[in-house]
Symmetry: C2
Subunit: 197 residues, 2 copies
Amino acid sequence: MTKAADTKLTIIQRAADVFNQQGYAGSSMADIMQATGLKKGGIYNHFASKDELAIAAFQFAVHQVSRRYIQILKDHQGAIARLKAVVHTFVANLDNPPIQGGCPLLNTAIESDDTHPLLRQQVQRAMDAWRKLIHRIVDTGVAAGEIKPEVQADTVATLLISTLEGALMLSQLYGDRVHIQRAQEHLNDYIDRLQQS
Amino acid sequence: MTKAADTKLTIIQRAADVFNQQGYAGSSMADIMQATGLKKGGIYNHFASKDELAIAAFQFAVHQVSRRYIQILKDHQGAIARLKAVVHTFVANLDNPPIQGGCPLLNTAIESDDTHPLLRQQVQRAMDAWRKLIHRIVDTGVAAGEIKPEVQADTVATLLISTLEGALMLSQLYGDRVHIQRAQEHLNDYIDRLQQS
């Protein structure tokens, strides 16, 4: 990697942690300068605007999260085991976060929905990819006769993502793992009930 | 109401809408001035700081939301019907929001967890009140023999709140009611399974 590419990646990494903890509106270029140790010009050499950096940082954050799912799914076969592995990965991220500040999809969805169409579109794409991942697991499970034929893949995706993201919000609000643990138990029961008996 | 009290309430109401849509960090005093039609001095006559206004606006927003729950629970008897009424009220708020910008608890929890201890404490208190409301309904239902004795009130509160808040995030991200509708169906099934048969 060239020195310029290396600097650019460092800016993205550090900015991703700052934005994910403080929000985009709550992070100033001074915060990014402090996190990177660079002057304003050193940052603007690589990014035309704060928005351009925000999008690069969000994509980096999502990549850090999603590669964990890809990795863990390699070790699990069967739709029921794989759905539980998705839930487990999300819960385990609380103790060993791929990025500081919690789930970048949740944080950025909440911040951007009323204010930042460009970022909102980025979150929609990342959320689409997560929903499709769950979707494919369910459809493969239905095709294999492992999951009941009447199960709607879209509904499973909505319920897994909603329950996990909402419980993460509670666990972070209180600094208490109990909420995400309850969500995991509830979802594991739910996943078991999808199984063709 | 005196003119001063009237002006103060108007500032709080308008600021609550602005903060809940744009976030606290994303709202400037210029935004509040524009929303209220007042000059900076006219606002600082009533609030010592942006933080003081932020807390008053958050409390106002929570009051707008919580009085809907108090109202609807008067019309429902029995724990199962009351839990479903809580879910229904949350879902109905999407079409007829008590405050612009979605759920103030969710928005403010996400924004404040890493950055704003004072606001975070306010969200914890408001969330405690919502959890206790659900808690009391479940405990009354258990005492009356309507709900299974092994049901944990705390767990019901976590699951209802997590699933609803997470699904709201998805519905607002996509501008699509389907996610919150799926959450409602799932939670109504879950509530039915709490019932003593």
